[in-house]
Symmetry: C2
Subunit: 180 residues, 2 copies
């Protein structure tokens, strides 16, 4: 069994697409530390969650953020706090005042078992634009990827290019190689 | 002995003004968690630092932030990250676009000993203005208190009205009452 630490059943379903039916949701509230580096945050969380997980099973923890190039990576690890307090319009205006509108969504998936912790990073590179589209959540309406915002895509289209999917695919490859 | 967890000798000197000569600097890198609440962050840090402190001595940990009213407390616990990434000009412009320019500096001091953890909060209420003054650090040039920005005050003037001093004074009172 592989325990995915999340309160979101949708994430578990997405993880099963990459990792198989062994993935189970594990509702555990680990301490997120303050760090510039998503991998640090997820790795520490996975280490803590594994101590609390049933049996001797491995766990995965994920953390995501939007990193704006011209703002030195802001809001990065604090994307959800900033989304809540400033909202996407203010973030979009901060970026619009800069020359470079480039940004990346990143997800780090941390896998912890008895041997330690490994982290896997997925990225989607795009551009910050005025809000468009009704789908998705968070910063999706202002993140344009290949001419379309994440909020204009179906969840299938978004999963195909998504940072979380890319990180999960890397983890799946690694587990595959290891089990050979 | 009372161990103040900080890399800043100036903070130790300020603490001695309130708590006496028993205060010693303790250079220890505790995990700061992500939380909306400075008291949570400082209390957890103090608990962790006490485990690592020499002997059975108590420790204090402090955490500070600038809380802007119109931005629902932003940047709050992430003030130093936001200062580094956005800078004070961008923060000031975000506030200038709002009707309400009110803000507060807050410091929480957490004291941990064998009995547990207590937290003490100090606040200074002011207004966000265009940068003025060469003193201080961080957000001091845009934080106006009684007509003067923190960056225009001498360190003595600033200490007299400061949030950190207020929190240290509350801790000193509490220790006094307890030892009677």
């Amino acid at each position: 069994m592989l325990h995915f630490v999340t309160t979101n059943p949708g994430k578990v379903r997405e993880a099963r697409d990459y990792l198989g039916d062994d993935v189970r949701q594990f509702d555990y509230d680990y301490a997120e530390i303050q760090s510039d580096d998503l991998a640090d945050i997820a790795a520490r969380g996975a280490r803590e969650a594994r101590e609390a997980a049933p049996g001797d099973d491995p766990v995965i923890v994920d953390d995501s953020g939007l990193f704006v190039d011209a703002l030195d990576g802001f809001p990065g690890p604090y994307s959800s706090y900033v989304h809540e307090r400033l909202g996407i319009e203010r973030v979009q205006e901060l970026v619009a005042a800069e020359d470079d509108h480039g940004a990346a969504f990143e997800t780090v998936v941390a896998y912890a078992d008895g041997d330690g912790v490994e982290t896997f990073t997925g990225r989607a590179e795009g551009t910050i634009v005025s809000p468009r589209g009704d789908g998705g959540f968070g910063y999706d309406p202002i993140f344009e990827y290949g001419g379309t915002t994440f909020a204009e895509m179906t969840s299938e289209e978004k999963n195909d290019v998504s940072h979380r999917g890319a990180a999960l695919a890397k983890l799946a490859d690694w587990l595959d190689t290891r089990s050979r």
